[in-house]
C-alpha cells in the first residue's frame, strides 16, 4: 500500500482510525464489503457478517489517475472513486473482499464495469422508478444477491439475521435523524459543517451499537450546550437547506462558505443527510426481503423517474425546518441532478423560497465565482 492521500488527514479521526479498525477486522478473519451508494441494502451485508465501508471518492487528488481510463467530462465523484481504486491509494478498497454497487446513473454503471477488473464488483440492477413490477424485480435482485453471497463466501443469511440487521439499522437511522432534527430549533444549535463532518465520521465506526451510542452522545451534548446558551449559531443567520448531489468533496467551497457569510445549513437533504435516514425498513414484515427492497426503492434519488418522492420530501423539509433559502449543489456532468434542478427551482418558486443551483467539481478553479454567487444569494434573502 502506498502513501495515503493528503485529504485523508482532514477526514476526522474516525475515518483515520477506521483504517486501523478495518485492518483488524481482516486480521481477525472478517470480511469487508466496499459500497458507494445510499441504495446499497446494507442489512444483507450485515446479515452475511460483512463489514460495510463507503468507498465514495471525495478528493480531487486521484482524478488525474482516473482520467487515464475515464473521459474528462465525467462526474468528479465517479472519477475520484475510480482513481482511488486504480492508483491503489484507498486502504478500504484494498481491504475489500467485494465491492457492492448498483446500476444507478450511467457514469457509475459503466465505471463499475472497469472497477470490476481491479476488485471484484457485484452490481445490483436497480429499477429506475416505481412503476409496474419494479418492486418485484428489485426484490428478486436482492434474493439473487443473497444467493450469490451465500455461495461465494460460504455463509448462511437467515431471516432472523436480516430482521436483526434491519432493527439495528433502523435504530441507527433514528439516531442520525434525531441528531439532524435538532436543527429545527430556532436558531439551530449547530453549524451544518460540523454536523456533516460528524455524520460522515460515524460511517467509519464499524460496530453498530458503538455507532449508535456515539450519535446519541453527540446529540445529547449539543442539546445540553444549547440549553446552557452555548449554541454555535447566531439568531440572524439565514436557515439554508442543501440538496442535490453528494457533497463530501466540495464541502469547503460550498457549506463552509455559506456559513461564513450569514447562513447556517439547517438541513441536508442529500445522500449523507436526511435522505438516507428518514425511511425505515419494516423489520416485522412477513416478507423481510420484500420489506428491505421496498425501503430502498423508495429513495428519492434523481436516477429515478419520475422522482416525485424527492420533490414532495423537499417541500415538507422546507416547512419543517423553517427554511429561508435552498441551495442545490450539483456535481459537474451529473445529468440526472442537473436536469432535475429545473423542477426543483420551479417548485421552490411556487413556495416563494429563494433558490440557487450551483454546478461544481472537486477543483478550486471556480471558488472565486462560487463565493460571489453564494454571498450574493445570501444578500438577497
Amino acid at each position: 500500500m502506498r502513501d495515503l492521500p493528503e485529504q485523508f488527514s482532514q477526514f476526522g479521526e474516525a475515518r483515520q482510525q477506521g483504517f486501523m479498525k478495518v485492518k483488524k477486522v481482516k486480521e481477525a478473519g472478517g470480511k469487508v464489503a466496499g459500497i458507494f451508494c445510499t441504495f446499497t441494502p446494507v442489512e444483507i451485508l450485515d446479515a452475511a457478517g460483512f463489514t460495510a465501508v463507503s468507498l465514495c471518492g471525495m478528493s480531487g487528488e486521484t482524478i488525474p489517475a482516473a482520467e487515464a481510463h475515464l473521459p474528462k467530462n465525467l462526474c468528479p465523484l465517479i472519477k475520484s472513486s475510480y482513481g482511488f481504486a486504480v492508483s491503489d491509494k484507498c486502504p478500504y478498497t484494498y481491504f475489500s473482499d467485494l465491492i457492492v454497487a448498483e446500476s444507478t446513473c450511467d457514469g457509475k454503471k459503466k465505471m463499475y464495469e472497469l472497477l470490476d477488473k481491479i476488485r471484484p464488483t457485484y452490481v445490483l440492477h436497480l429499477p429506475q422508478g416505481l412503476a409496474g413490477d419494479a418492486l418485484e424485480k428489485w426484490k428478486n435482485e436482492l434474493i439473487r444477491f443473497i444467493a450469490f453471497l451465500e455461495d461465494r463466501f460460504d455463509v448462511k443469511i437467515t431471516e432472523e439475521a436480516l430482521r436483526k440487521a434491519a432493527r439495528e439499522r433502523n435504530e441507527e437511522r433514528k439516531s442520525r435523524l434525531a441528531l439532524m432534527e435538532l436543527q429545527k430549533l430556532t436558531p439551530p444549535p449547530a453549524k451544518g459543517y460540523d454536523l456533516y463532518k460528524a455524520l460522515e465520521g460515524s460511517g467509519f465506526v464499524f460496530e453498530s451499537s458503538q455507532r449508535i451510542n456515539q450519535l446519541n452522545d453527540l446529540r445529547e451534548s449539543i442539546e445540553a450546550a444549547y440549553r446552557d446558551g452555548q449554541g454555535k449559531v447566531k439568531a440572524s443567520d439565514r436557515r439554508i437547506l442543501v440538496t442535490g448531489c453528494p457533497i463530501g468533496g466540495v464541502l469547503n467551497k460550498t457549506v463552509k462558505l455559506i456559513e461564513e457569510n450569514g447562513g447556517v445549513v439547517t438541513c441536508f437533504e442529500n445522500c449523507s443527510g436526511i435522505k438516507a435516514a428518514y425511511q425505515m425498513v419494516n423489520a416485522e414484515a412477513d416478507d423481510i426481503v420484500g420489506a428491505i427492497a421496498e425501503r430502498y426503492l423508495g429513495i428519492g434519488c434523481s436516477v429515478m423517474t419520475p422522482n416525485d418522492i424527492r420533490i414532495d420530501h423537499l417541500k415538507k423539509l422546507v416547512e419543517e425546518y423553517k427554511i429561508d433559502g435552498v441551495v442545490e449543489i450539483d456535481l459537474q456532468c451529473c445529468t440526472p441532478y442537473n436536469v432535475e434542478s429545473f423542477t426543483v427551482k420551479n417548485e421552490m418558486k411556487k413556495l416563494s423560497i429563494p433558490y440557487i443551483q450551483i454546478e461544481t467539481d472537486y477543483s478550486e478553479s471556480d471558488s472565486g465565482q462560487l463565493s460571489t454567487r453564494l454571498e450574493a444569494f445570501l444578500e438577497t434573502i
Binding site: D366, T372, A376
Partner: protein
C-alpha cells in the same frame, strides 16, 4: 459633511465613487486593477485622501472580485447587490433587468422594488465576458472599442464556439480564410450578444426596463444588437461603468 464611498475592484478595472449626503456623485475615478488588487487598493486610498476623503468622514464599502483586498473598507458586499443598487440609482428606477458585462463575469440581475429578485452569472467559463472581447481584439490587432465600431460595418459570419480559447482559434481560421476584419468583428460581438440572450432566457423578469452596466456600456453597436436580440430597448449611459462602485457607496453608512 458625511460621505459614502464605494470601491469596485474588478478583474480588469477598479472603479471608485464618492457620494455626498444627497446621493450625488462628487468624485469618481477609474484605473486598471493590474496584477495586485492590494496595491490598487492602496493607490485608491491615497487618491481618496488627496481629495479629503478617509475613514474619518466616510463610510467605505468594497465590492468586485478583489473586495477582500481592501483593508480600509468597513465591509464587503457582492457585485450582484451593488450593481443592482447602483443601476437603480443611475437609471432612477426600482424595477430593472441589469446586464453587467464585466471583465471575467457576465451577470444578469432582475431587480424588483429595488431589491435583487434573481440573478444568473456565468460559471468559471469566460464566454461572453469583457475578457472574451479583449482576447478577440488582440487577435484582430485592434482596441475593443475599435472592434465594436468595425463590427457595425460587418455581418454574415458567425462564431459557433462559446469558449474563449476555441473561439480564438475559430477567429484565426476565419482570418486564414481571408474573411474581412469587419465581418469577423461582427461575429465576435454577435457571440457576446447571443450569450447574453441565452442567459436572459434563464431569468424571470416582468416587463421592466433593461439596462447595461460595466465596461462596455458606451459601445453603441453592442447596445443596438442586444436590444435587437432581446426585442426591447436596452439603455445605458457612460456613468454605468461605475454602477458597482455607486451601489457599494449606497451600501455604506
Amino acid at each position: 459633511m458625511r460621505y459614502r464611498t464605494g470601491i469596485d475592484i474588478g478583474s480588469t478595472c477598479s472603479k471608485t465613487a464618492v457620494l455626498d449626503e444627497n446621493g450625488s456623485v462628487i468624485l469618481r475615478f477609474i484605473q486598471p486593477t493590474g496584477w495586485s488588487s492590494v496595491d490598487t487598493a492602496e493607490e485608491i486610498r491615497s487618491k481618496l485622501e488627496q481629495n479629503g476623503i478617509s475613514n474619518e468622514n466616510s463610510g467605505i464599502v468594497a465590492t468586485g472580485y478583489g473586495r477582500i483586498s481592501v483593508p480600509f473598507a468597513d465591509r464587503c458586499v457582492t457585485e450582484i447587490t451593488c450593481h443592482a443598487k447602483g443601476a437603480c440609482h443611475i437609471f432612477h428606477a426600482d424595477d430593472l433587468l441589469v446586464i453587467d458585462i464585466g471583465g471575467q463575469d457576465t451577470k444578469l440581475i432582475s431587480v424588483q422594488d429595488g431589491c435583487v429578485k434573481d440573478f444568473v452569472m456565468n460559471d468559471k467559463c469566460s464566454a461572453g465576458t469583457g475578457r472574451f472581447l479583449e482576447v478577440m481584439s488582440n487577435t484582430l490587432a485592434v482596441k475593443p472599442e475599435e472592434l465594436c465600431e468595425m463590427a457595425s460595418k460587418g455581418g454574415g459570419v458567425s462564431i459557433s464556439s462559446m469558449c474563449t480559447v476555441f473561439a480564438e482559434s475559430e477567429v484565426i481560421s476565419l482570418i486564414g480564410r481571408g474573411e474581412s476584419r469587419e465581418n469577423i468583428a461582427f461575429a465576435v460581438v454577435d457571440s457576446i450578444v447571443k450569450k447574453v440572450a441565452s442567459q436572459a432566457s434563464r431569468i424571470q423578469t416582468v416587463n421592466t426596463k433593461v439596462c447595461l452596466t460595466g465596461g462596455l456600456c458606451d459601445f453603441d453597436f453592442l447596445l443596438e444588437r442586444i436590444s435587437e436580440e432581446l426585442g426591447t430597448d436596452v439603455i445605458s449611459v457612460p456613468e454605468a461603468r461605475y454602477a458597482g462602485a455607486i451601489g457599494a457607496a449606497l451600501c455604506a453608512k
